[in-house]
Structures are given as structure tokens and as C-alpha cells.
């Protein structure tokens, strides 16, 4: 019985040494895994979707290979509804290797702004969830997740429409000028059309016009629309403002003038 007991002892000791050496070296080599996400490039793709491309760099100078590196990012609005998701899988990163990849995330701006109209006018915050899953030393699954808040800039921040200013155009018509302005706080620029319809008090259309707007990202926009209306109809009017762009529709915004 002595021999099997000794064999068990020796085998157990060898296995323990291997297990401890592997565990310690696996933990030690985790500090040599470097992962970074760079600043995103933003492109507009089909269906008015915004594509965020993050340069991703992963360096493994540890003792072991990495498997199944999986990065997923999700963007949710204030209600917790997911508005964007990105997913990148790198199946294998050999020891001593640096991988450069791109992590893509699509944001459907139309869907986001349709369901959250207040995001058009008010700056807000979106929550970005990041999750990294990988098999360190090939057999030790690790999951790290974090979240951060990113500011959302409203594309129509501080939208203002001035009181119509009428000038006599001829004996029968007036030339009415309506100034409008907003600040595009969004990270994307947009083009679209702004349509204004003018009504006299009992819902009778008295004029209308349309203009093209081109708003650059993070900049103010000032515009002016001139509308011909029949004379003596401006004592008590209301207007309807409708803005249509590739990414969103806003309106009709009704503004009443006169007493």
C-alpha cells in the first residue's frame, strides 16, 4: 500500500505545482493585456443611420494567448430603451501580438428622434454600456463591463420663430418676413426643408413658403422666410412650422399671434 500512496502523493504535488504556476502566471500576465478605444469616426450610411467607427487596439504581451475577445457596446436613452448596439469579436490573439480592428456601432437617429422628440430641442445625456468578454490564458473567462454618460446635443436647441413682419408689397399683398433660428448642438450636420403655413384666425390659409436649411454640426443657424399674403389679414394669425430633414421630422409647431 506504501507505493500507491507515494505515487498519489507525488502526482498530487506535481499537479499542485503546475496548477499554482499556471494560475499565478495567468493572473500576472493579465496586467500585460492592453486594450484601447480611440475617438470615433462618424459616417452616414443607408436608412439615415449613423455609423460610429471606433479604432480598437488590443495588445497581448502576457504569457498566454487570448481567445474569444468580444466587445459589445450599447446606447440607451433616459428611459432605458436601447437605441444603438455594436459588436466586435476577435477569435484569437496570440501571445505577443497586437491587433488593430474597428468597432462599429450603428445609431438609428430617425428612430431615436421619432420616439424621443424632446431630444430635438433639449440637450440630454445618453448612457453607453461597454462590455468586454475574453478567455484569458485561453481557459479563464473574464467579463468587464462599465457604463458612461455621453452628452447628447439637441439639433434644434433654442428654436425660435420671430413675429411676422409685414411690408407692403403692392396694393393687394403684403410681404411677410419670418425669421427663425436654432443652435445645432448635435455632432452631425443636416440639411432639410422648413415649411411655414400661415392661417388667419378661422383656419383659413393665407400664405405659405418653404426654404432649405443647411445646419453644420455644433453651430448656430439663422434663417429667414418670406411669404406673400393678402393685405389686411395679419391682425390675428397663426403659423404652422414644419421641419423635415433626412434624420428627423419636427412639427407642425403652431404659433399664435395677435389678440
Amino acid at each position: 500500500m506504501i507505493v500507491p500512496i507515494r505515487i498519489i502523493g507525488i502526482v498530487g504535488a506535481i499537479c499542485w505545482i503546475i496548477l499554482i504556476a499556471f494560475s499565478v502566471s495567468a493572473i500576472y500576465s493579465m496586467k500585460d493585456i492592453q486594450f484601447s478605444l480611440g475617438q470615433p469616426q462618424i459616417r452616414i450610411i443607408e436608412n439615415s443611420e449613423l455609423l460610429f467607427s471606433f479604432p480598437l487596439s488590443l495588445t497581448n504581451t502576457g504569457f498566454y494567448d487570448l481567445r474569444h475577445f468580444n466587445l459589445s457596446t450599447g446606447v440607451t436613452n433616459k428611459d432605458g430603451t436601447e437605441v444603438a448596439r455594436g459588436f466586435t469579436l476577435i477569435p484569437f490573439i496570440a501571445q505577443g501580438e497586437t491587433i488593430n480592428a474597428t468597432h462599429d456601432m450603428k445609431l438609428n437617429a430617425t428612430a431615436l428622434l421619432d420616439s424621443n422628440q424632446d431630444l430635438l430641442l433639449n440637450d440630454s445625456e445618453l448612457r453607453v454600456n461597454e462590455t468586454v468578454i475574453m478567455n484569458a490564458a485561453e481557459v479563464v473567462p473574464i467579463q468587464a463591463s462599465s457604463y458612461l454618460s455621453v452628452p447628447w446635443g439637441a439639433p434644434l436647441y433654442n428654436l425660435m420663430v420671430s413675429t411676422p413682419e409685414a411690408l407692403v408689397y403692392n396694393a393687394t399683398h403684403l410681404l411677410t418676413s419670418i425669421k427663425f433660428s436654432f443652435e445645432n448642438h448635435a455632432f452631425f450636420g443636416f440639411t432639410g426643408s422648413l415649411r411655414i403655413r400661415m392661417y388667419s384666425d378661422p383656419e383659413v390659409p393665407i400664405g405659405g413658403g418653404q426654404t432649405t436649411i443647411e445646419a453644420s454640426p455644433r453651430s448656430p443657424y439663422f434663417g429667414n422666410l418670406e411669404i406673400y399674403t393678402a393685405s389686411s389679414t395679419l391682425s390675428r394669425v397663426h403659423i404652422e412650422v414644419l421641419l423635415t430633414t433626412r434624420f428627423f421630422k419636427y412639427g407642425p409647431l403652431e404659433i399664435f399671434y395677435g389678440s
Binding site: 498519489i8 499542485w16 496548477l19 499565478v24 502566471s25 493572473i27 468587464a144 462599465s146
Partner: protein, 150 residues
């Protein structure tokens, strides 16, 4: 009879000194391994709070059981302490490693490390160690019985 007693006492003292020396060397080796491991684990201690405490507590109890076992060497108690050491290691690993799923939160970062594979292998090895201790105890008793019979 009188001539034999001093030799037995001398032998016993020598045996005890040898046993103490062996235990001391074992403890020194374990402490040296701990010092080496703690330096290697230092980067992970930043990530895993309390790792040093877990390892230190484990080591203290492990060394205590090892010393007690060695002091009782040559008796059946040695094998029971050895078995108890194996069971302690299994229980301590299960509790300290949270059944193999380590979950830590640092600010807004949540980290989950799945060490179930390590835990399973360690438990199997300790069960093997426990079986070895039981076999040693059985062997010890059977040798005693044989000697008494002779």
C-alpha cells in the same frame, strides 16, 4: 533495562529535534513561496481587493495544520490532520473564491472572473490528498495490527 533507557530517550530527543527541524524547514519553504507569490500577485491585488488577505489567512491556517500534523507524525493523528487540511483547503477555496465566480466593482466598472476550472481542479487534487490521508491511516492501523499479531 537500565542501559537501554538512556538510548531510547536520546533517540526520542533526536527524533523530536529532527521532526522540529523538518517542520521548520517546511514552514520556511512555504513562507518563501508565499513571499514570491505575493510579489507576483501584486498587480492582481490592485484588481482584486482583499486577495492578499485571502492568501495570508489561507496560509496561516494551512501552516498551522501542517505544523500540528508534523508534530503528531508517527501517530494516526498525523493522517487525520492531513485529511482535515485537505477538507479545509476545499472549503476555504469554495468560500473565498465565491464558488468560482469572482465579482468586483470599482466605480462604474464591474469585473467578473470565472475561476471555476481552477476551483474544480484544485478540489479534485485535494480530494485526492484526502483519499491519500485516509489510505495512510488505514495503512498505519494495519501495520500496527500486523506488529501486534507478530
Amino acid at each position: 533495562m537500565e542501559a537501554k533507557e538512556p538510548i531510547n530517550a536520546k533517540q526520542k530527543i533526536r527524533k523530536n529535534i529532527f521532526r522540529l527541524l523538518k517542520t521548520t524547514i517546511k514552514v520556511i519553504i512555504v513562507i518563501m513561496v508565499y513571499v514570491l507569490l505575493s510579489q507576483l500577485l501584486a498587480p492582481a491585488s490592485v484588481l482584486i481587493p482583499g486577495l492578499q488577505d485571502i492568501v495570508a489567512t489561507f496560509l496561516m491556517i494551512y501552516v498551522a495544520l501542517m505544523v500540528v500534523g508534523d508534530l503528531f507524525s508517527g501517530t494516526i493523528l498525523q493522517h487525520f490532520f492531513s485529511g482535515a487540511k485537505s477538507l479545509f483547503v476545499i472549503a476555504y477555496l469554495v468560500f473565498s473564491l465565491n464558488s468560482g465566480l469572482l465579482d468586483y466593482t470599482f466605480g462604474n466598472v464591474n469585473l467578473i472572473i470565472d475561476v471555476r476550472v481552477f476551483l474544480e481542479v484544485a478540489m479534485l487534487l485535494e480530494l485526492l490528498g484526502f483519499a491519500k490521508s485516509m489510505m495512510q491511516a488505514v495503512n498505519f492501523v494495519s501495520e500496527k495490527v500486523e506488529l501486534t499479531a507478530v
